[in-house]
Amino acid sequence: SQQGEEDPQALSIQEGENATMNCSYKTSINNLQWYRQNSGRGLVHLILIRSNEREKHSGRLRVTLDTSKKSSSLLITASRAADTASYFCAPRGGGGNKLTFGTGTQLKVEL
């Protein structure tokens, strides 16, 4: 497995705005997963995008994947205070079952 690098490290927005965070990785993948972590609920799986997919939606989440650039983005639309959390990407490929996270993007949504 490999570690994704999330960018930016921190992001502060107003409620109702959109939040975009990016993930870069180094080697080929089978899929890429996004997770969220907040103090109340621990780590939660958000969405998985396969290597042959370019875009995927789940509720207010939109994930894109560009395998040529080895990058992914997570867009949260119409953000809410409850979206305040750290967001991690997990590129999966090359064998192995473990997840490896970077330091994540710390999102703060202010009222």
């Binding site: 089978n30 899929n31 079952n97 490896t100 996270f101 970077g102 994540g104």
Partner: protein, 116 residues
Amino acid sequence: GAGVSQSPSNKVTEKGKDVELRCDPISGHTALYWYRQRLGQGLEFLIYFQGNSAPDKSGLPSDRFSAERTGESVSTLTIQRTQQEDSAVYLCASSLASRGQQETQYFGPGTRLLVL
């Protein structure tokens, strides 16, 4: 229960003491993982159990760390002679059998360990 549970939720211990952390995976999940997350850092893989296969221990940082799992149920992570550097949140996750790395891992709330 419906999710992965871990106990204790918090543990404060003195340097040199042994600690045991417990994880109850989701019923029916054959795969179980232990991770460590130090303050402000990412997730660090420790060990992986899959059914009756030999566990993947490649992430254990030293021989002071060990883990066991009974069948497809409870797992315990033991840290002997704890050091201050062991202070971290220890996270357990479980999943259905791996499907080409497309399985979703479900995480417990973690055990926050503080070694004084």
